[in-house]
């Protein structure tokens, strides 16, 4: 109770005004970048700047108003950072559209992306309004896990699954295409969090000690291990290296945080090395990726099949951009295949320079930091695990994709959150942000004052929750 009292003494401020101010800055980034693209490429401010800017503003302000109404204590930094990234991404995609247009190639991706962003914001709002307490999601632990596996299986089905760029991670339904892995990512976080929060004691305490690691009992670890192995197996069949790495990292982080045993990290790290080595030795396309990564300039030439054309063109672009970049319209980011999706960071590096690359990385860092901060202050284990899981997935994804584009690690195809062209990723990430805002709102919300009805102390443990929910509705 003493601890509770200390907590009650500190009340988080709502800081919605700060959020609004930051959102105006974020809009300046998005709309300013759009105008800069027009000036840089076509020499004039785009004619539709008012309509475009207005629409962007409407989306952002709508999101803000909903946060103000249903999650007043939510973290004030997350939404503006996301808005800035999304706006910048739209501008860069628009810039590439103009280049593709000049080359008589397919374009109009920015318009598509704006529609996806609209859908993303709508789902963000729906999530925030529909989900008043994140703990409700704990009920869907197994449902989430099962849905994730089903979603991951879909691309393997003949008829709707398609292979793009060697990875079979897409489904096509009529005119719509979708990457189910992006949604599975969120569902798996929920499933892991839900399962581990229930079984963390058993996992941490029961079991035998082998060498340095306390191995849990099979029946405690079994279900989640199975869930994870199935996901991993599917991804291996789909040749989706990036997502495999992501899910492995997520599994490790969730296990480590819930059991508080660093041994899991050691064991996982070891397993990862063994797995990576095995994949390098056994799977030919992994070996190619690693060779290309170790010696990209060598494989750039046609006589070696131009295997590293994409990463090397990206590196050339980023080198060409230098510290401050060539300016919108000053580079040729369209030379890099898939410049508007997987390789959007190289476009940013080329035309906006190292400065913008660092800024973008810092923005991602902020998102992760805010997610983990929500996890720290969160009062329930499920919320903690979920926020940590979402933050870790986000961090890993950013690391894998930007590290791949800048040749820090071998290249694996993943989208750059909020920047890359791609509907599934954008929508899923907006939902992730909604979930994080919901958790941080719950975490920062003041604990209902329970000191007055001190005489009913016997019931307080039970009424506490009821009161908390009621006071808001």
């Amino acid at each position: 109770m003493a601890q509770n009292g200390a907590l009650m003494g500190f009340v988080h401020r709502r800081r919605r005004g700060a959020e609004l101010f930051l959102l105006v800055l974020a809009l300046l980034v998005g709309i300013g970048a759009y105008a800069a693209v027009g000036i840089g490429v076509e020499g004039t401010i785009p004619a539709d700047i008012v309509g475009y800017g207005g629409w962007l503003a409407v989306l952002i302000i709508a999101a803000h108003v909903v946060v103000r109404m249903v999650a007043p204590y939510a973290d004030p930094v997350l939404l503006p950072v996301v808005a800035a990234l999304n706006g910048l991404g739209l501008a860069v995609i628009h810039r590439l559209d103009l280049a593709y247009e000049a080359d008589d190639k397919a374009h109009g991706f920015a318009q598509q992306q704006l529609i996806w962003m609209t859908l993303g914001v709508v789902l963000f709002i729906v999530t925030l309004i529909g989900l008043r307490d994140h703990r409700v999601l704990q009920r869907f632990t197994y449902t989430s896990g099962l849905s994730a596996i089903v979603l991951l299986l879909l691309p393997l089905l003949p008829g709707i699954g398609t292979t793009i760029n060697g990875a079979r991670i897409w489904i096509h339904l009529g005119p719509f295409s979708f990457q189910p892995g992006e949604v599975a990512k969120v569902l798996l976080v929920i499933a892991f969090a839900g399962y581990l929060v229930l079984h963390r004691d058993a996992l941490a305490l029961a079991g035998r000690r082998v060498v340095f690691v306390d191995l849990p009992r099979g029946r405690d670890l079994g279900p989640i291990l199975g869930m994870w192995l199935v996901s991993l197996g599917i991804l291996v069949f789909e040749s989706d290296l990036g997502s495999s790495l992501l899910f492995f990292g997520l599994f490790l982080v969730a296990l480590y945080v819930s059991t508080e045993r660093p041994g899991w990290l050691v064991l996982g790290g070891g397993l990862f090395l063994v797995g990576a080595l095995a994949a390098y030795k056994l799977v030919s396309h992994v070996a190619i990726r690693v060779d290309v990564w170790l010696n990209p300039l060598h494989y750039y030439d046609d006589k070696f099949g131009a295997k590293s054309f994409q990463p090397v063109e990206g590196m050339f672009g980023m080198g060409w951009g230098g510290l401050i970049g060539r300016g919108f319209g000053g580079g040729s980011p369209e030379r890099v295949p898939y410049a508007n999706s997987d390789f959007i960071m190289s476009s940013i590096g080329e035309e906006l320079g190292l400065t913008a690359v660092i800024a973008v990385i810092l923005c991602y860092g902020l998102i992760v930091e805010r997610a983990l901060r929500a996890a720290l202050v969160c009062r329930d284990g499920f919320g903690k695990l979920m926020a940590t899981g979402l933050g870790a997935v986000f961090a890993l994804q950013v690391f894998v994709v930007i590290g791949g584009v800048t040749s820090l690690i071998p290249l694996t195809g993943l989208t750059t959150p909020f920047l890359s062209y791609g509907g599934s990723s954008l929508v899923a990430n907006w939902v992730i942000i909604a979930l994080l805002l919901r958790i941080s709102d719950q975490a920062r919300r003041p604990i209902p004052d329970l000191s007055a009805p001190d005489d009913t102390a016997a019931d307080s443990e039970q009424t506490q929750v009821v009161k908390a929910v009621r006071s808001e509705s």
Partner: protein, 487 residues
């Protein structure tokens, strides 16, 4: 669960730090390497799109960039393409040659000389423009050289180099057959590739700059070097009596050295001046044997053989005097510019220029000034001495002897009324089934040299019997010298 969450935060921090460090490495430390990679088309495209500075001859640009409204903002154009191609080179999407390549930093605006200009452009938000390069070329001399070569026929393979003896300025540098650099600078890249392949496979080698890239036996023009070595040895003067006759018995062989047409040089004993007048092989072969190959090589190297002395164009072929122990018969052959001796037209012009300049060879150069886009002079090339090849008295004696060649000997076709001309002809044998190479090197006025010229005709449609330095080359040299003197 907060402790592991903090550990995870730390881990994420490390991940992001790694990303930032790596991005900095890539875009800052490694950027230079990446930009210098010849396969990096961005850099090429950017320079291709930029407004390059002009290459100027006199007041007129021979290469300049004009606005273009296709995918690249500027188009490189060459006003007198064939005449100046060996100098300007070409500026294509795929590669550059000539001044376009050598002065690329200035022309593209990347040179540190243009730093201030670039800074002003950056601050005023203007697209930066490259600086201009002013050449030493005299347009009239260049025209005379090019027209003289092409007058010999459409498929003549030849070259002309003219130098100002007192400075080393290259006044003319022509090579035929030439090509049209406009075609290689075109924005139609498919067409460019086709044109390049056609030029590259042409057996007449139009892309070759014969003035500096072709080394061939200089024939009798090399006798100037032998004569210089003889005079420098102190054992001979222009009036020394030397063997003439019809044949020279080559030691260690059963062969004899004959004169060009098999006849006598005008007596068994003639003066050195007479020997040069008629280009007497017997005399100079004998001189070679007297002097030995080391003295000849020394003299040749002082004139520039075996050395690199042209920085403004590349690649420069290195002229050659046979190295190592040369057997006496071959030394005799070397002394008359045969056997393994090989020289570029530039080298032969440099010999005349050195004699004309009192024995001091000036380092030849082609870039006179580097100018900012506003035509302010940023850098002016100062003439520099390359070597002291011969003493001034030897230079005086050689000048008199060379005047005699034009006055009384094989070089009469180079005579200019009212102006003393010094010269030397050459006709070099290659293989029996090929026509010989015709050479001529000269300078004028002999008493106040303003220009030294070397002319090479490697092959032409002229009948074999007509091929001789005096007949084919001297008139061209004369025209070039007149163009410079009459200004």
């Amino acid at each position: 669960m907060n402790k592991p969450i903090r550990t995870i935060s730390l881990f994420c921090l490390l991940l992001f730090l790694a990303l930032m460090v790596n991005a900095t490495y890539l875009q800052y430390y490694k950027a230079g390497d990446l930009n210098n990679d010849p396969r990096n088309r961005r850099v090429i495209e950017a320079s291709y799109s930029r407004e390059r500075g002009a290459i100027l001859v006199g007041r007129d640009p021979v290469a300049e960039s004009v606005k273009s409204d296709d995918q690249y903002k500027f188009q490189r154009t060459y006003a007198q393409p064939f005449k100046y191609a060996p100098i300007t080179g070409y500026f294509s999407y795929y590669s550059q040659t000539g001044i376009e390549q050598k002065q690329n930093d200035v022309l593209s605006g990347d040179d540190s000389l243009l730093f201030v200009t670039k800074l002003v452009d950056l601050l005023s938000n203007n697209a930066s423009k490259g600086g201009s390069v002013q050449l030493t070329i005299n347009p009239d001399a260049q025209t005379a050289a090019y027209d003289g070569l092409t007058a010999l026929g459409a498929d003549v393979q030849g070259a002309v180099v003219a130098i100002e003896p007192s400075t080393g300025k290259i006044l003319a540098l022509a090579s035929t057959p030439s090509y049209d650099p406009n075609k290689l600078a075109s924005h139609d890249l498919t067409q460019v590739s086709q044109d390049y392949n056609r030029l590259n496979q042409d057996p007449r080698e139009p892309l070759q700059d014969r003035a500096i890239q072709t080394i061939l036996p200089p024939g009798s023009t090399f006798k100037l070097v032998t004569a210089a070595a003889a005079l420098e040895s102190g054992n001979f003067n222009p009036d020394s009596q030397v063997p003439g006759g019809t044949t020279l018995d080559l030691p260690q062989t059963t062969h004899d050295l004959h004169n060009e047409n098999g006849s006598s040089c005008g007596g068994d004993r003639i003066t050195l001046t007479q020997a040069l007048d008629v280009s007497c092989n017997v005399t100079f072969g004998w001189l070679g044997l007297q002097l030995g190959d080391d003295k000849l090589r020394d003299q040749a190297e002082k004139f520039g053989f075996g050395q690199h002395y042209l920085d403004d164009l590349s690649p420069q072929a290195i002229s050659r005097f046979p190295d190592g122990d040369v057997s006496p018969p071959n030394t005799a052959l070397s002394a008359i510019g045969q056997y393994d001796v090989a020289a570029t037209p530039l080298q032969m012009a440099l010999i005349s220029a050195g004699i004309a300049n009192g024995g001091t060879v000036m380092k030849p150069y082609l870039v006179d000034e580097v100018q900012s886009p506003e035509l302010d002079v940023l850098n002016k090339t100062e003439p520099s001495e390359f070597s002291q090849a011969i003493s001034s008295s030897t230079a005086r004696d050689l000048t008199t002897m060379m005047e005699s060649v034009v006055q009384n000997g094989t070089g009469t076709a180079a005579q200019i009324p009212g102006i003393p001309v010094a010269g030397k002809t050459g006709t070099a044998q290659s293989t029996p089934d090929r026509p010989p190479y015709a050479w001529f090197t000269s300078f004028a006025p002999a008493d106040d040299p303003q220009v030294a010229v070397a002319v090479l005709v490697q092959s032409s449609s002229t009948a074999r019997s007509e091929i001789a330095g005096g007949l084919l080359c001297a008139p061209i040299a004369k025209a070039v010298m007149e163009a410079v003197i009459n200004q």
